[in-house]
C-alpha cells in the first residue's frame, strides 16, 4: 500500500467526521430551546467548572488578567 493511499484515507475519514460534526452542530443550533428553559443562562456555579480563564458559555464575562 503506497504511502499516499494512507494519506487519502486519513483525510477522507477526518473530513467525514468534520462533516458529521458540522451537521450535528447546525441541527443543535436550529432546534428551538424547549418552552420552559429559555431563561437557562450560564449561571454562576455551572461556570465554576472551569474556574478562571476559559468559560465557553459566559461570553460576556471579561477574562481577569
Amino acid at each position: 500500500m503506497p504511502q499516499f493511499v494512507y494519506l487519502i484515507i486519513a483525510i477522507v475519514v477526518i473530513v467525514a467526521l468534520v462533516a458529521i460534526f458540522v451537521i450535528s452542530f447546525i441541527a443543535y443550533r436550529r432546534t428551538p430551546v424547549p418552552k420552559g428553559c429559555e431563561d437557562l443562562v450560564a449561571n454562576k456555579e455551572k461556570c465554576e467548572g472551569c474556574l478562571m480563564s476559559e468559560c465557553p458559555l459566559a461570553h460576556g464575562r471579561e477574562e481577569g488578567h
Binding site: F21, V22, F25, C50, L51, M52, P56, E63, H65
Partner: protein
C-alpha cells in the same frame, strides 16, 4: 515610544505565565496530568516539556488563524489544532523517547482536553498577535513545568526516598546505569508510610497542601499590604501598626 509599550507588554505576557498567573498554582488549571504523572520527577519534567511544546505550537497556530476562523466554530477548530499537535508529540516521543512515552501513557493524549492549553488559546491566543501568543505559550509552559516538577520532586522523595535520573531520559547515565540519589533512604521515614505519596491518594494530599501553602502566602501578603496601606493612610498617631497579626 510605542515599541517601549510593546516591549514591556511582551515581557509582561511572558513573565505573567510563570509566577503571577502560574497556570497550576494560581489559576488551578490542568490538574489531571499534574496529579497523575508526578509520581517521579523525570516523568513530570518530561510531561512539562511536551506540554510546553504543544502549548506554544497551538498558541502560535491559533493566533495565526485568528482572523480566518469564524466565531461560531472557534472552540472545535482550536480543539482540532491542539489534537494535531498532541498526535505529533505522541509520534515523536514514541520514536525518540520510548520510555517517556510508556511512562506517561494515556495522559499524553489527555493533553488535548487539558484545561490550560484550551484556556490559553480561547482567552489569549485568539485575540493577540503571533509573537505575544508565542511568549505567552512559553511563559505558561515554563510555569507549568516548574510547578509539576516541584510536585514530582516532593512525591518522589517522600514516596521512594530517593531521586532517580536517567531511567526515562536514558542519555543521562552514570557509567551505564541511571543515577539514583538516596535522600531519605535509611531514615526512619523510609518505612511503608512513605509509600502513600507515590500512590494516587498521595497526589491529592501533596497538591492540597501545596495549594494551601500558596493561599496562605497570598493571604499574608494581602494582609501586610492592607496593614501597610492603613498605617500610610494615617501616619499622625505614632502607634505601631506595622506587621500583620
Amino acid at each position: 515610544m510605542s515599541d517601549e509599550i510593546a516591549r514591556n507588554r511582551h515581557k509582561e505576557s511572558f513573565l505573567s505565565g510563570i509566577i503571577k498567573q502560574n497556570p497550576l498554582f494560581v489559576a488551578i488549571l490542568g490538574m489531571c496530568p499534574a496529579l497523575a504523572v508526578t509520581k517521579t520527577f523525570e516523568a513530570s519534567f518530561g510531561m512539562g516539556l511536551l506540554f510546553t511544546f504543544v502549548l506554544v505550537c497551538s498558541n502560535v497556530i491559533v493566533s495565526l488563524l485568528r482572523k480566518v476562523v469564524p466565531e461560531e466554530i472557534e472552540t472545535p477548530a482550536h480543539i482540532v489544532i491542539i489534537a494535531t499537535f498532541v498526535t505529533i508529540v505522541k509520534m515523536l516521543t514514541n520514536a525518540l523517547l520510548p520510555e517517556l512515552y510508556s511512562s506517561l501513557g494515556v495522559f499524553l493524549s489527555l493533553l488535548v482536553v487539558n484545561c490550560i492549553v484550551l484556556g490559553r488559546s480561547e482567552s489569549f491566543a485568539k485575540k493577540n498577535t503571533v509573537f505575544d501568543s508565542f511568549l505567552d505559550g512559553v511563559g505558561n509552559g515554563i510555569g507549568y513545568t516548574l510547578a509539576i516538577s516541584i510536585i514530582g520532586i516532593i512525591r518522589e522523595i517522600l514516596g521512594k526516598g530517593s531521586l532517580t535520573v536517567g531511567k526515562i531520559f536514558t542519555f543521562i547515565s552514570y557509567n551505564g546505569s541511571p543515577i539514583t540519589i538516596p535522600i531519605l533512604k535509611n531514615s526512619v521515614f523510609d518505612v511503608s508510610m512513605g509509600k502513600i505519596f507515590s500512590n494516587p491518594a498521595g497526589g491529592f494530599i501533596v497538591m492540597g497542601i501545596l495549594l494551601a501553602i500558596i493561599a496562605a502566602v497570598v493571604n499574608y501578603n494581602k494582609a501586610k499590604k492592607k496593614a501597610a496601606a492603613k498605617s500610610a493612610a494615617k501616619p499622625a498617631p505614632n502607634t505601631n501598626l506595622g506587621g500583620a497579626k
